[in-house]
């Protein structure tokens, strides 16, 4: 029995997934996590450090790591890369000026070898704000189509404020991770 099959067996037993939420500051990562966990989203301070939430989703247990996005603490993101099954990149669709920063940070992240096996879900957040860029526009600016062909990815428009699109995104992510690490049954 190879090491990989042992790991698979353990994963199958626990049905656990590790999800890493990253993105620029002010993109709404914490709000998304709290919203999907059914918690109060009215008072959320900018994340200094990180939050972990364990969410039971369908038949899986998601360990969601929500890491702060301020410039000072972006260099600590890499401490959370290990064993990540699903990567969620959150974009503030109303922040046109920093889309370029957003693109560069995402490119750097995807170069990371420890994340090479992780499925990528891009949330184009804040779609409820008037004047926000559409999913197609965000996808174009971030140049998602040109991504490495081996990467499983999807972009979903959402609003953490109303909750719209969050389930669609997480449904895809969980299904994709599940089929990728052979946990379907």
């Amino acid at each position: 029995m190879g090491l990989l099959s042992i790991i698979r067996k353990i994963k199958k037993k626990e049905k656990e997934m590790r999800i890493l939420m990253v993105g620029l500051d002010n993109s709404g990562k914490t709000t998304i996590v709290l919203k999907i966990n059914g918690e109060d989203t009215s008072v959320i301070s900018p994340t200094l450090g990180f939050n972990i939430r364990t969410v039971v989703y369908q038949k899986y247990t998601l360990n969601i790591w929500d890491v702060g996005g301020q410039k000072t603490i972006r260099s600590y993101w890499r401490n959370y890369f290990e064993q990540t099954d699903g990567l969620v990149w959150v974009v503030d669709s109303s922040d046109v000026r920093r889309l370029e920063d957003c693109k560069i940070e995402l490119e750097n992240l995807l170069k990371e070898e420890r994340l090479s096996g992780a499925s990528l879900l891009v949330f184009a957040n804040k779609q409820d704000i008037k004047g926000a860029l559409s999913v197609a526009e965000i996808s174009k600016v971030l140049n998602l189509e040109a991504m490495d062909k081996t990467r499983h990815w999807k972009i979903v428009g959402c609003s953490a404020y109303t909750g719209e699109g969050l389930l669609e995104g997480f449904d895809w992510l969980v299904q994709d991770v599940a089929s990728r690490i052979y946990m379907l049954d």
Binding site: N26, V43, Q70, E100
Partner: protein, 388 residues
Amino acid sequence: MEDHSEGEMQRQGPSSIPSSDPSMKLLSNKKHQALLQRLSQKTATSSSSSSSSSVTAAATFLSQFTSLKSAIESQLSSAAPEDLSSISVSISSLENLVAENSYHLPAYDLRACLKAVSELKSSLQTVSSEVVPKKKFSFRRNKQSLSKPDCTDVGVKTVQALTSDGQYSQASEKSESNITLNGGMQCVDQNLDNSSSAEIPFAQCKTKGNEDVKLEESLVRNNEQLGFRNRKGELLVMNVKDQEVGEFTMRDLESCEVRLIGSVRTIFVHRLRDCKVYTGPVMGSILIEEAEGCTFIFAAHQIRIHGVRSSDFYLRVRSKPIIEDCTGVRFAPYCLRYDGVDDDLKEAGLSKETGSWAMVDDFKWLRAVQSPNWSVLPENQRIESIDA
């Protein structure tokens, strides 16, 4: 009695078996051998049964897989555009089948099946690109852009006068025609030429690739962000009461006074110098980057302050405000007054003073002691209140 003593012996373990008693030793040896035999039998039967079952399962799976695969291939060879989605569904179910059976498949078969699936996928892609012509990419014009020009019309007269030669009105003219991406680029080119004195001197424009700037600008044009840009020494007033406004941007202002009456969803502030900015409540967050010598009055759910020097903030905020790369910033409570400000605050969920304006987190000072970068503005130096 004998049983009892034997049990006790066993509990004590083999090391404690007295070697002086040969019969006892023989007994334990016998038991040991029996155990070994039982174990070996068990493993033999279990391995043979499991391997035989997995072999048959693999065989049935393989036959199922090949029949499904050939069915999909025949579908692909004579595909009409409306069939494509059903084919892709059957390919993904085939993939799921492989995933389900991956446990008992030999490594080679698993690899071969996965390869076959990916080949099916790629051939579906080629077929679909042949059958369905690719959609040409174009930016849709946002619905709300139709109503945006009204915003300026409704605003106070002074604003109209101020914006008549500014970026904003230019932008709304440009967007009258439907802008595709390429068209947008061209239009930005013209814009850059026309107002090169205003657009070019940004330090960031120089560092960025030319094309990126164009892209960003074209997106800005397309979305017609509401706000003020590139002004010097002006009084800028905007009334957005009873309008639905998404984001509001203040950028590259010098020695200006900005008054925003009414509630918006989010505010972006970038590169302000010696300005006074008074705004009504914000439903979402405020992001401030690079400012110096300014006074801000803000009410919002979240406030992030980056790269600001020597500025005062009068805040009403639901969560803790944060600063990063700031020096000499001082904080005090919100003090803006205009007709209906209380209703606006209430509607934005900001009617209660929580005192969090003084609970500032400094990302550049992660220690228990007070950060030297910010302080509470002494009461005798605060402005009383501002009437906008």
